[in-house]
Symmetry: C2
Subunit: 188 residues, 2 copies
């Protein structure tokens, strides 16, 4: 980033999100995003591979956070407790981002291609969690099932958070959803 | 179906699957599928909306089976037991279809668009299960979590089945995976 473009990435992201919300993702061009942010297309492409990337740049951060947290949990922990620790770390990322997350969700829900991309993101996250559990010595199918359980809890908590006012916050909704999953699978 | 085209649908399906396997999904045309099955393109389009539909025609059958079975379980059953009954009914559909399911899976894994479609299919199935549970009086988030748990069990069992010889069969792998999910979420 050059010193003549302070917070170029943030400005591009805000401009893109506003344009996607106002006129739809398909009908927004990179030229317009750059113009709206007072920057050049070239600067846009220094920060994002394409206009979809603006919405999914956080996916790899989230995945790294999940995997790194999982890898750092003592090996004596039960797989579900390791996954719970990773969910907790991920939940913290969403603190103070409720409006942003809501806006992003509305953009995604309005576009079939973006919805597919979101499903792929979660499927990859599940695969990465299962792989990390296997590296910790958790056998299959327990590794895959603990990963899928974690993604299920994340999805349901996220939908509750997005659909509400932001309170309870993501960390609490994650904990509640995990407790609820435990109750459900126990047949209660 | 006209009487001059016995088992047209089955012939089209087998021709399509063989062509998708041999030369890839993208490089196969409806013209070729019809020719290979000894039928016309017009007959193809009487049975399938497009070439992707050949691979996903079973999705709505599976979803109906899940929903109908769920709806028929006594309301006194715990949500997870209702979902287990639906999984059991779905598993029966795969009996004797191991080779077909393996071939289909290899076609799907080779194509990003088909993988996305498969993820969408499972996401819709989860939504339909959650909705049916809500109609049975199961509150959220229990309804969503029981549905997600069911899909997780289905996915993991299906991958184990596809990756193996067909033995143990789907009904058994579904039961094992559900038991394993219960053990995992209980922290074992």
């Amino acid at each position: 980033m050059s010193r003549w473009e302070p917070d170029a990435r943030g400005r591009l992201e805000r401009a893109a999100m506003d344009l996607y919300s106002e006129r739809g993702f398909e009908r927004t061009t990179v030229t317009e995003i750059a113009r709206c942010a007072g920057l050049t297309e070239r600067t846009f492409f220094r920060h994002f591979a394409d206009k979809r990337e603006v919405l999914f740049a956080g996916a790899s951060t989230l995945q790294d956070l999940f995997v790194d947290t999982l890898a750092g949990v003592p090996e004596s922990a039960a797989p579900i407790d390791a996954v719970a620790a990773a969910l907790d770390a991920a939940a913290a990322v969403f603190q103070g981002r409720h409006e942003h997350a809501r806006q992003r969700q509305m953009i995604i829900v309005a576009n079939a291609e973006l919805q597919e991309r979101e499903l792929i993101k979660l499927a990859r996250l599940s695969t990465a969690i299962a792989e990390t559990l296997r590296l910790r010595g958790v056998p299959d199918p327990a590794a895959s099932l603990a990963a899928e359980a974690g993604i299920a809890v994340f999805k349901v908590a996220f939908e509750r958070w997005i659909g509400g006012t932001g309170r309870p916050d993501m960390p609490q909704l994650i904990r509640e959803s995990l407790d609820e999953l435990k109750a459900v699978t126990a047949g209660r």
